[in-house]
Amino acid sequence: MKRLALLFLVASALTGCNAVSKGSRLSNRPMDSGGVYLTTGDAPKRFRTVGFVQVRGYGVEVAGYADVGDAQLDGTIKGAMVREALRLNGHGVIHIEFEDENPSSDVERAQGLANSFSNLSTGKGGVETKDRYVSATGEVIQFLE
């Protein structure tokens, strides 16, 4: 009974754990010189729309901790999205919307690591992996001045 209560307490404590995905800063306002202007808001000066872009980065979380592939906010927005904007002759991407589709909480990561060790030590199964996806959309623009 005590064990059950303890288990319940632990389960309660673990419920509602946060998963936080971070990306580095986008462009400043007023804008710095050079580079593709990136913002989740509006443009800082007159522009015309060139097109729209959607990017989806795929990666794998290995053993709860190592992230392999392109499922990161920075890689998706500052990498693939910028490359596509440049291909369209854009000067910037505005109104960027992004989502880390399936982030892992600290508990899930620890669980993945523990399961991987357990699997390897017992010889049952291998390293635990989890597919990861990050997607982003934006409006590609050219500045008029």
Binding site: T49, F52, Q54, R56, G59, G69, V127
Partner: protein, 142 residues
């Protein structure tokens, strides 16, 4: 063997970014419909909200029969509908299309008898400019 499988998994996971875009030059010159994800400062009447959805399947993981990408969604579905409504443009556009990773597409080829479902959804607010001015662009910041 497990290490080999892990290596294969890592190899396939590396560099898997899917990018889709549509070129949509937008100038409010009254000749064609403009589209922007933001707002416009020019006086305008709101004609209504719109959501267009086009669904289909990818045969063999790659062949998009009906056109369910951004190009088709914007140019073949959204713009004609906006013209039908008598709108000059669409503001606050939001969009999403199904994007499969290269690995999923390869699986679609292998399991060709199970077509991959695919769709594109675009929402926005249709507007009509009160004073159509060819000199202004929809993205003009006042």
């Amino acid at each position: 063997m497990r290490h080999l499988a892990l290596c294969l998994a890592l190899a396939t996971a590396s560099g898997c970014t899917v990018v889709n875009s549509v070129t949509l030059p937008s100038v409010a010159d009254g000749k064609d419909v403009f589209v922007t994800a933001g707002d416009i400062a020019d006086p305008h009447d709101v004609l209504g909200l719109i959501q267009v959805t086009r669904s289909g399947v990818l045969l063999f993981g790659n062949i998009d029969v009906v056109g369910t990408d951004l190009e088709a969604g914007f140019k073949d579905v959204l713009l004609p509908k906006v013209r039908e409504m008598g709108g000059d443009g669409v503001v606050r556009v939001r969009f999403h299309m199904t994007q499969y990773t290269p690995v999923a597409r390869v699986l679609g080829v292998l399991f060709f008898f199970v077509p991959l479902p695919s769709s594109v959804v675009i929402t926005g607010q249709v507007v009509k400019l009160r004073n159509a001015n060819p000199a202004l662009s929809p993205g003009m910041v006042h």
